[in-house]
């Protein structure tokens, strides 16, 4: 049975010389739509760039100097190492070593972040070789207006020259995020059944909301910091997942993680989402993509070690291990594919044994000598302080072997094999830190330092649950996270055991629990093609800010910026995103102008640089500070309610009504015979001949 050619042509033929008027009209519509989108995008790009420059100039005196100076220092140090001292980018972390948490200056950068600062210094070196960090003299209130304007302009220019590369990098990243928001929102709205023009319009609004997000702008161009580097990879990862490119999504997440460790906190959602949909291959591909890129990017550390004289050596055992395991796995998969068709059905049981041997034997051969050498070091806390025992190493080996065997068994296509190979390489390389005691300082500085350096309830002026607990309920800002909370004191309930945990662990456990629930919501809405999916993927970021301890005020930026995609669900959800943006803006500027002297400086600067906006003796900074001070931390209550609303939208299913199709006689579509005349009412009682359920095309 086949459809008549005419019906196929009507739907599938592209517009050409023989195109029907309908398809031509559609083509014109498409062209107009994309032209409008292009025009709006260009205008937004120009306006956004101008806005960023303007805001940078506006906020020059209130840049967060301590962070900025540290960024400059570590970037310069690394650049200087590589440029003048014949050392490499890799050495910075190892020079710092496993840091004492009380050290100052300290380095708590992930590798990507340090790389950006180094490249920034490299670019700056070409303009101003070994130029110092620009000082921040307050422009004096000069009576000579012309001279005063010239002084301020010159100073602004100095600042702009210094920051140009970094700010351009941030702008590019934000633009990439906006493109991602457009694509993601468009894709979700489109798959929810909207027409293309509606989907494109909503996608464009989402992109504009992200591009003009003031929370992101103040962080990237006012502070300026690299906190927003998390958002574009996250959005792209969600988009790639929606498109089924799970391995690439994992790679996108790896990029985000290389820039900022906070990306780790939503990583479980990406793994649980496909698992709740029983798509374990997708989850494996995501993990493979993540580990592949992350392992490749960091193999400079994971496959080398540094001696006491700070000389870097390649660790050949680690390299052998990292290369051998994926290689053998890939070869085993290829061998299986080649051999299996040649084996009779009765002899196929041989294959798992062959595969196992292929994987385990070389790995064991490679590892045995290393274990003999390295085992004594596991008990040395200086070598690897985070290892409890060598049992962890064995566990990792078992996991890697299992992953390898499963991959060899199930990998079919070359893309899968590539992902498997890269993923296993990355995993092996990362495991080498444990197995072969290769360089570990980069991991400690990038991902572990931040979790135990600031053992505070909140960092900065954060308006969230721990912030309220600290400021309003009197929890100790310093000792609060380690306060032991006793759960289930009723002994009959826990069979005599008391369950106690620190407040930090308790709040983080609540976050994790809600993260799992959110992941279920993501999986559900993804399966139903609901636009609630867009809200659901943002929910973990809102929860991440709201619940755990040790959160910086700037971290609401992740939720606020990502929430721009919520416009795809509803205006209400987008308005909640706007509210979060306002809150993050207020909290960020609150920290930036926290110092009395800085506020005075800013007031003087504003009256000199913007005389048309600010009067002499303006107290704008003080008024703004007073406003921000009044909202902290109680506005956290509203943030908590927002988190609850997000969670509610995430967890509530939308019941899909079953579609009812009119029961047309099948031959009305495929039969060349004319359709039978409708039965008149007076004839309806006459029994008709039974109609075939599946029409057979007449011969």
């Amino acid at each position: 049975m086949s459809l008549p050619d005419a019906s196929i042509a009507t739907f599938n033929t592209p517009a050409g010389p023989d195109a029907t008027p309908r398809s031509r009209r559609a083509m014109i519509k498409t062209i107009v739509m994309w032209t409008v989108i292009a025009i709006v995008s260009v205008i937004a790009l120009c306006a956004g760039t101008k806005l960023r420059r303007g805001f940078f100039d506006f906020a020059v005196p209130i840049h967060f100097q301590s962070d900025n100076y540290r960024n400059y220092s570590w970037g310069f140090y690394t650049f200087y190492n590589a440029h003048d001292r014949g050392r490499s980018f890799l050495d910075t972390f190892d020079d710092a070593g496993i840091q004492d948490r009380r050290n100052n200056p300290y380095i708590d950068y992930s590798p990507g972040r340090l790389a950006v600062y180094t490249m920034w210094m490299r670019a700056h070196h070409a303009v101003d070789a070994y130029g110092p960090f620009p000082a921040k003299p307050p422009p004096r209130a000069n009576k000579d207006i012309v001279k005063q304007a010239a002084e301020v302009a010159a100073w602004q220019q100095t600042q702009r020259d210094f920051w140009r590369w970094f700010l351009d990098f941030n702008t590019v990243f934000e633009a990439i995020g906006a493109v991602g928001a457009f694509l993601l929102t468009r894709q979700v709205v489109r798959s929810a059944g909207a027409k293309p023009i509606r989907a494109n319009t909503i996608g464009l609004i989402a992109a504009l909301l992200l591009w003009f997000n003031m929370g992101m702008i103040i962080s990237a161009h006012g502070w300026p910091s690299g906190d927003m580097w998390v958002v574009p990879p996250f959005i792209w990862a969600v988009y790639l997942c929606r498109r089924g490119n799970w391995a690439l999504a994992g790679a996108a997440l790896a990029i985000g993680t290389l820039f900022k460790g906070q990306q780790f906190f939503v990583l479980p959602m990406f793994i649980l989402w496909p698992l709740f949909q029983l798509r374990w291959r997708a989850a494996a591909a995501l993990v493979g993509g993540f580990l592949g890129l992350f392992g490749l990017a960091t193999c400079g550390w994971t496959l080398t070690h540094v001696d006491a004289q700070h000389v870097r050596y390649k660790d050949w055992l680690a390299i052998l291990f990292a290369v051998l395991l994926p290689l053998v796995t890939v070869l085993a998969a290829i061998a299986r594919r080649l051999l299996l068709p040649r084996l009779s059905r009765e002899r196929r049981w041989v294959m798992p044994i062959v595969l196992g041997a292929l994987i385990v034997l070389p790995a064991a051969l490679a590892l045995w000598p290393s274990f003999v050498w390295q085992l004594p070091q596991f008990s040395d806390p200086k070598q690897a302080p985070w290892i409890a025992s060598s049992g962890a190493a064995y566990l990792i080996l078992i996991l890697l072997g299992t992953a390898s065997a499963l991959a060899a068994q199930y990998a079919r296509r070359w893309q899968t094999l590539t992902t498997v190979g890269l993923g296993l390489f990355g995993a092996s390389a990362l495991a080498s830190m444990l197995l072969f005691s290769t360089c570990f300082a980069w991991f400690d500085a990038g991902y572990m330092f931040g979790t135990d350096h600031w053992e505070f309830m909140v960092m900065g002026l954060t308006s969230n649950l721990p912030g309220i607990m600290t400021k309003r309920f009197g929890w100790d800002q310093h000792g609060g996270p380690q306060y032991m909370v006793s759960l289930f004191n009723a002994h009959w309930y826990t069979l005599g055991y008391k369950i106690e945990m620190t407040l930090k662990t308790l709040l983080f456990s609540i976050y994790l629990l809600l993260l799992v629930l959110s992941s279920m919501g993501v999986a559900m809405h993804d399966r139903r093609n609901s636009t609630r999916f867009l809200v659901a993927v943002v929910t973990p970021w809102v929860l991440f800010f709201t619940i755990p301890c040790q959160i910086h005020e700037r971290y609401l930026l992740f939720a606020a910026a990502a929430a721009s995609i919520c416009i795809g669900h509803s205006i209400g959800a987008a308005l909640l995103g706007v509210f979060l943006t306002a809150v993050t803006w207020v909290m960020t500027i609150h920290v930036m102008i926290g110092n009395q002297l800085i506020r005075l400086t800013w007031n003087r600067y504003l009256e000199a640089a913007y005389p048309e906006w600010f009067d002499k003796k303006t107290t704008f900074a003080h008024q703004l500070y007073r406003f921000c001070e009044g909202s902290h931390p109680d506005i956290g209550w509203a943030v908590i309610l927002t988190a609850l609303v997000f969670l509610w939208i995430t967890l509530t299913p939308v019941w899909v009504r079953r579609r009812t199709f009119p029961l047309l006689p099948a031959f009305a579509v495929v039969s060349p015979k004319p359709a039978p005349e409708p039965v008149r009412r007076d004839e309806a009682s006459i029994p008709l001949e039974p109609q075939p359920l599946i029409a057979v095309e007449p011969q």
């Binding site: 059944g193 309920f473 609901s530 209550w637 939308v654 899909v656 579609r659």
Partner: protein, 535 residues
Amino acid sequence: MGWRTAVKWAWPAVCVIVAALALCEGVRLRWNLWEWTQPIRFVGDINNGFNHGRRASEWGYLNVYERLKPEPGRATIDYGPLRLGVMSAWVSWLKSNDYPTTDYRSDDVQKTRAYHAPLLNFNMTMELLAAVAAFLLVWHVRRRSIDPAQHAWALPLSLLAALLVWFNPASMLEAHAWPQWDVWPMPFFLFALYCGLRRWWLAAGLLIGFGSMFKGQILMVGWTIPLWAFCMGDWRGALRTIVGVFAAIMLVGSPWALSNYDEATKLRIIHPAAIGITVLATLAAILVPRRFSPALVCFAIATSLYVSMSWLGGTDYWYRSALDVGTWHFHTMRMGPTSNLPAILETQWQWQIDDLLFTLPAFAYRDSAGAEGLRIGGDITMRTLLLSIYFGLSALCAVRAAFLDRGRDTRVLLALSIPWLLFFVIPCQVHERYLVFVSMCAATWVACGAGVTLIGVVLTVVAFMHVIVCMIGSNGIDWVGMEGMYDSPFGFIRRLIDPTNPGIAWLLLLAVLILLYNIFTPVRRPPACCGNGVN
């Protein structure tokens, strides 16, 4: 009886059983609540009520207002006539049952529930009536909805709404532990909404009017009902509502409008002219028109009583006590530990109620002596600004309610209840107890969906927190040095809730915005032929 009949009657039968059980349990819970909350009783309010009731009983019910004379700067009584009547009846009952009535709390028997039984039973009756009203409201809006899917769960949802009102922890605590009388206007308001939805506008107005004689706060929200009618194009309905309010107020105040108190003889002097005019006007309104019009009769009665009160020797102290004293009595940003916008403005940014914000061109009425009367514009203080914002937003809600009512949208209940939340959150001089109004109205939001119902639950929790923290605070349980009390359950609750004040107002503000957004979003109906996508 076939199984179809059994299924048909199963739901109602289950509902009746649940309602009966709930009634019994609710009554028992209320009785126990009195005993459980002995240490945190808010004695001040019931003491006031007792004293006013005792005065009414000694001086005569009608003479209290003239003898106390509430005037600016001298707030001696702020009770409406019906509220005073309840207190008077209570004290009379105490006397007839030989309870001590010389002073409140002079005897241990005065701590018992039996001593307060009439008052608490009256509170319980009002709560029960409010639950019935909530049931009817939800039932009505669900059954008349355009969307057939809304009809299916009408009965269980109505019962749920009634149960939410009946077991509302905030109102129970307020009515049976505080005890206070804030639940009294709620059945009037909810029944007025029901009458409005049935287009019985005069009845709606009468209910609002009578409710205001119990608690004047109902008028702060009740004015949205005639506006709702007007915005639906039913200007006659709007007029009927206004006439109803006017008539109810004047009818309650008629004993004072038709007589005066002679301080020399301590007797009331009845004015025959005033009575004559009132009777004549009433008869004229009944007999002259060709068709009997209740609204016209009400208008005639109310107008003639007003004329009597203003120009024929009647007194208006009752009116001032009921509706005027409360507006200037507590001239502060907030009363008690209220968490609302003025509280934030006061504690975080040190704004005060009379802070001048800006000045507008003013239009003022001056009488022949040059005294200023009604003024529009002029100096805009914080109080004026916040009150204006409140009235503006409430008016928007009423307008939107008209649209939703036209479209038979269930959110009409939401639109008509939000003014209560606005009344708590935005204006100055608001007591912490007034969130109980919102929490009781919020029970009807079950008709609008689970999301807004949950917001209603959150508001109920906040209302409960407000009430209990005030009760505990008034008894000094947070005093350092009171051994044993600080670590008591009440002390723990105080320590838990006190820090939320006034910061939790941010949550309430966001809730207001979410609810306003909810009523202003258009209805999204799935297109006739759409893909498999959902929103």
